[in-house]
Symmetry: C2
């Protein structure tokens, strides 16, 4: 195991009805006025917004709304929200939504406390030295953002999808109520499954040092995601499956499975970020296309671990069988495995490859992911 | 899954040489003068004490020593240490040792900030409302105390082994350097393995609601403990095995595997606490005696989970085979499985049973663990 430091100060308040206590959580952190961020107006139709408003009012906390955050969130929206937060002098941000709303809210919270343009924080021009306290009510389990300090946002002008992370951007409290996720569409459920599996396998396959204990934790997550996704496709109202799916999602990207591993990278995310930056495809849908394509190219770099994956996850023998089984499973649940299913054709490959090569520098793996390699991976996905 | 709140603010600084940074960690928490608690003088002979002293001095932090904390730590020692801490007006406690030193240090830290007698906090006469900040350098991986808020201490007069726990008694920072554990004796290694397995199975078998994801996490821990214990018995200097053993130990009792489970209890610990309170046996040795005896009585209450255990851990079919396999494994590694190996004979059963029945009230399971049941379990261990 490699040396590591693990610190995760986020309180997870998990279960039915927990959103009713959001006001108390904010009050415990002395919040008086909060920026309430969200995506679509769905939370107003389904009653969640009213529940939150009531919980805040009961604690004498006022709020300013900022809705309209989209999937693959964009930096222009973050900039707008920062202006609103400053104008109204809020002292915290409360994200009500999925990963896009949470990630945007982290960027907003950090941006409010930074004098320059918030994109500076993404491109390394400035460091995050402070942030407003962040709270969240999760409505889609996929990104793990509820229990980590990372945020990924796209700059629409430069077509860059970049990330920030800082000790200041951990949520103070995240509410995870699986019942709120019952209305997630079939498509987004399967995209989410692909996203969680992607978080789990990046380190599992790429780490130069991958302790077996950490592999076992990863396998626990993947098996749970596969099992619960199938249950939820048959019965979206199955609370137990929804809950285990959500909790596995949180564990996939809260630091646990990466602790003690070394020399890992995020090539699937690197490639997918180009797909969503250029073509605005759902992140999870992009990942389910990239993963099998990447695995077909990469498996010879780490044959033992790919055999382990085949055996532990699918009860199969060879690396190739394991990859095929995952691809078939993606097909079965209905998340895309081909670029064409995302509406991306061969003529768009050159621009896509250029964008991936731009990402490769930021992901620190430009030496491995050359034009030739990226071309081969993307061609596997045609 | 049951509703739960998970909050664990402890920073784990894991790996080789990390103890050299303890001074910086204390300085980051504005500590000026610390009570340095430890067990035997071994840490002076092996250089750890000098390393710590140097790291503290480099940050201008003074310390007061309090050594001599024994296994199955006793409340009289905690009381002494509280006096020392008050006399020298320390502003933190730094535990250098294993679970006994850590647990004592938590009790000291809470006791200093409580006006009455510290045992009041154990018997529910008073609540913990504050504690000195706690830091630790772990030298034995077993109890998980480095990343939780619990502490178990024995009252030698009343022969009660009781626990405290409070949001105030999480360590701020725990250093876990597996290399410091290389000199752990063969006996304490196998007792520790039994302790970790006990932490893992209590909820796994007794919970009325045990999500499959949580079972998988438990199995990852148990498989890792079995594998790494065998490696370490063959080669105590195997760093990788020592590290995974230690990290699995931390995960077994930091809240993760119990989150979402419901209706669980700690019957093995309840019974073992009587063995160590009455006969001062090592906690892990007591547990390896109690577990198979308890499992033989209990398995019919949860046959499916015992079958799962047999299959997932040992690749066997029946509940009984799984129990036998665990007992055989304990025999193989050389941790006791019979009361006689602890020097406890049938004539001592009545007093032991009385003590267990006393514990049962505190463990909240007096309705299940009647005199008849406890007798049957202990007779299984003769």
């Amino acid at each position: 195991m490699d040396n590591f430091t693990l610190f995760n100060p986020t309180t997870i308040d998990f279960g039915t009805g927990k959103e009713q206590q959001i006001g108390q959580h904010l009050a415990a952190h002395s919040v008086k006025k909060v920026l309430l961020t969200y995506g679509s107006e769905r939370i107003k139709r389904d009653g969640l917004f009213a529940t939150v408003a009531q919980s805040l009012a009961a604690q004498g906390i006022s709020f300013v709304e900022f809705g309209g955050i989209v999937s693959n969130p964009v930096i222009s929206t973050v900039r707008e929200a920062i202006l609103v937060a400053r104008t109204h002098q809020v002292d915290a941000v409360l994200a009500v939504g999925g990963g896009s709303v949470l990630d945007s809210s982290k960027a907003i919270a950090a941006g409010v406390r930074y004098e320059g343009d918030v994109w500076d924080l993404f491109i390394g021009k400035a460091a995050i030295t402070a942030a407003l306290p962040i709270f969240s009510i999760l409505t889609l389990a996929a990104t793990g953002s509820e229990m980590n300090n990372g945020a990924v946002v796209t700059n629409e002008l430069t077509k860059e999808k970049f990330a920030i992370g800082s000790p200041h951007t951990f949520p103070k409290v995240s509410i995870v109520n699986p019942a709120l996720m019952q209305t997630v569409s079939r498509d987004y459920l399967v995209y989410s499954a692909a996203d969680i599996i992607a978080h789990s396998i990046e380190g599992y396959f790429t780490a130069k040092l991958q302790p077996r204990f950490q592999s076992r934790l990863v396998e626990a997550i993947i098996k749970t995601v596969i099992e619960t996704t199938e249950t939820l496709l048959a019965d979206p109202a199955d609370y137990e499956a929804r809950a285990q799916f959500a909790w596995a999602s949180t564990q996939a990207l809260n630091g646990l499975i990466y602790s003690g591993t070394a020399g890992f990278s995020y090539p699937n995310h690197m490639i997918e970020h180009s797909l969503s930056a250029l073509f605005n495809v759902p992140h999870g849908a992009g990942l389910s296309v990239v993963m099998p394509a990447w695995m077909k190219w990469y498996h010879s770099h780490n044959p033992q671990q790919f055999q382990r994956f085949a055996r532990e996850i699918f009860g199969l023998e060879s690396a190739e069988q394991g990859i095929t089984a995952l691809e078939n499973w993606f097909d079965k649940i209905g998340t895309p495995t081909r670029l064409s299913q995302l509406g991306i054709t061969e003529t768009e490959l050159p621009a896509t490859i250029d964008n991936v090569l731009g990402n490769a520098k930021w992901f620190g793996i430009a030496d491995i992911y050359t034009r030739d390699v990226v071309t081969r991976i993307l061609k596997n996905a045609l």
